[in-house]
């Protein structure tokens, strides 16, 4: 039984076939990496799954139910939460305020002009929970815009956790990070997957991370599925070596 299932899903933008029909299935509890050179269709795939735009053809289902033409906010309510390649947080607010907005959204309070003491305590408890999970407790009252890039990305994942995601989509979670920040984020992702049991799909360029933590790896190239398998299978796959790893070597 798979949590997420794509069948013959494709997407075209005018004359550009960004994603050729592909099928994909992710099991509950899996930590899955999506890799591929630039323009392979990774972000397009994420945008399709998270409802940013609908597929040109094919069907997507989540936990056995079709979600092909469901809006982003409805997908969020079903438990599909994403982060973005370019960090999307509330920059001029503090970490606490970021988490509070997320907690209030998760509790469905967004239109309430007042809340009871008990509800307020519930919100604050949720904020504390997010602070603990993201290990940002000591930085709760810092303004996010003044924090390091790495911390901002952790805040973004923390916000995403407010909804207790069943499927978390991380678009290049370690992009632009230094070594220390990268290892923090990698630990964080692994913790969320192993301790919280959240199914995670992530796009990543850093092969050390991909081969280090992913249960399974999906390789895209030129808008098509090239290979799928465990780290060992992928690194031994001659087509991947030729099309992807070889291209990376040429680029370097």
């Amino acid at each position: 039984m798979s949590l997420l299932k794509l069948e013959n899903v494709s997407r075209r933008f005018g004359a550009l076939q960004a994603l050729k029909p592909l099928s994909l299935s992710v099991a509950p509890g899996e930590l899955r990496a999506i890799i591929g050179p630039n323009g392979a269709g990774k972000t397009t795939l994420f945008n399709l799954i998270s409802g940013f735009f609908p597929p040109s053809s094919g069907t997507i289902s989540f936990a056995g139910e079709p979600i092909t033409a469901v809006t982003p906010s409805a997908l969020v309510r079903r438990g599909i939460i994403r982060t973005f390649q370019i960090t999307q947080v509330f920059l001029s607010l503090t970490v606490r305020e970021n988490f509070r907005v997320a907690a209030e959204a998760a509790l469905g309070l967004q239109l309430r002009p007042w809340i009871s003491r008990a509800t307020r305590a519930q919100v604050e408890a949720k904020v504390e929970e997010l602070a603990e999970m993201s290990r940002l407790g000591p930085k709760l009252d810092r303004t996010v815009g003044e924090m390091s890039h790495g911390d901002q990305r952790v805040v973004e994942v923390g916000i995403a956790l407010s909804r207790r995601p069943r499927l978390l989509l991380l678009d290049e979670p370690t992009a632009g990070m230094g070594d220390e920040e990268t290892s923090h984020m990698t630990d964080f992702i692994r913790r969320l997957n192993k301790d919280q049991g959240i199914t995670i799909l992530f796009v990543e360029h850093d092969m050390a991370i991909v081969f280090g933590i992913a249960d399974r790896i999906t390789v895209l190239d030129n808008g098509a599925l090239l290979a799928e398998g465990s780290a060992a299978e992928i690194s031994a796959n001659p087509r991947v070596q030729e099309a992807y790893l070889g291209a990376a070597e040429n680029a370097a």
Partner: protein, 311 residues
């Protein structure tokens, strides 16, 4: 500690206005007008400063409040509370109805469409002579006595000032409460990053609609009070120039502060009163003040003082 103290000083100074303002060469109606503009600008600022929606058409709701109050006094009943309620509800309902038409527009398109709706009401007021008095404006009403405990109490300038001050206090309390609630947090989140908010499962457009409607209600309330202050509702109460003045007031005082619109309104009204007594070109001086303020205090006057305090 400093902020509650400063707020207490402002409230005491406002309560004592009829005593000290004449000594400084002012008159009570001037302070009343400043408070009315402060109410309207505070309402606009909920949308402008906190939700990030630059409306150039909020005079429409202010003007509808003014006409609503005047028409209610003339045609319905000679009751002050009823007139204020009628004006507020008329402008507020217009805001509720127009909100869905503007909430999906972003940036400059949002501003343009708010101007367009504002001018629509302006031309209706100018054309519909029979009801609105056309370009001459709506006259023939005044502040009727209020029944308090069986007595008919006439509201002179001082008493009316205190009524407006009470309304201002109420509006400030409502805005303060909204800003510390999930609703207000949602407004700020819309301003900061609508995409992020949408991907937290929040209907961003609905949040903007609610902010728009609340700000229209508050602007209409101010408009109703203004009609009772002047005994007059004019098409200028609805026009884009007044809408622009409200925006200037917010920017001048500071959009990220609940007291910013009040400060902006006080400066705007006092400058207008003083300058218009010495020159016909008073608007150019207001413009100069505005340019200097934006150049040297880009966060508004209160934004500046807050920045200094935090360092």
């Amino acid at each position: 500690m400093r902020r509650p103290l400063a707020a207490a000083c402002i409230w005491i100074a406002l309560l004592a206005v009829p005593f000290w303002l004449p000594l400084m060469g002012g008159y009570t109606d001037l302070a009343t007008r400043a408070l009315i503009y402060a109410i309207a600008a505070s309402g606009l600022n909920l949308l402008l400063g906190y939700t990030g929606g630059l409306s150039f058409g909020h005079a429409a709701y202010f003007g509808l409040g003014a006409y609503g109050a005047g028409l209610c006094l003339i045609h319905v009943a000679p009751s002050l509370p009823l007139a204020i309620l009628a004006g507020t509800v008329l402008g507020g309902i217009a805001g509720i109805l127009i909100g869905p038409l503007v909430m999906r527009r972003k940036g400059i398109y949002f501003s343009m469409i708010t101007i367009a709706f504002g001018q629509m009401f302006y031309f209706i007021a100018v054309r519909w002579n029979g009801l609105t008095g056309g370009e001459d404006g709506l006259t023939g009403f005044s502040r009727v006595p209020v029944q308090i405990g069986g007595h008919a109490v006439m509201l002179g300038p001082e008493r009316f000032y205190y009524l407006v001050l009470a309304v201002f206090a109420l509006v400030m309390a409502v805005i303060w409460q909204i800003l510390r609630s999930p609703l207000g947090h949602g407004f700020v989140a819309v301003r900061e990053n609508p995409t992020r908010l949408r991907f937290l499962g929040v209907a961003v457009e609905r949040q903007i609609w609610v902010a728009f409607a609340i700000s229209a209600f508050i602007a209409a309330l101010a408009g109703a009070l203004n009609a009772l202050l002047t005994g007059f509702a004019s098409p200028d109460n609805l026009g884009w120039q007044l809408s622009g003045s409200f925006v200037v007031i917010c920017v001048l005082g500071g959009m990220r502060s609940v007291w910013g619109p009040f400060l902006g309104a006080a400066i705007f009204i006092v400058a207008q009163d003083y300058l218009s007594s010495i020159t016909q070109n008073w608007m150019s001086f207001i413009g100069l003040i505005f340019i200097l303020a934006v150049l040297f205090f880009p966060q508004g006057l209160l934004g500046f003082s807050r920045l200094k305090a935090s360092r």
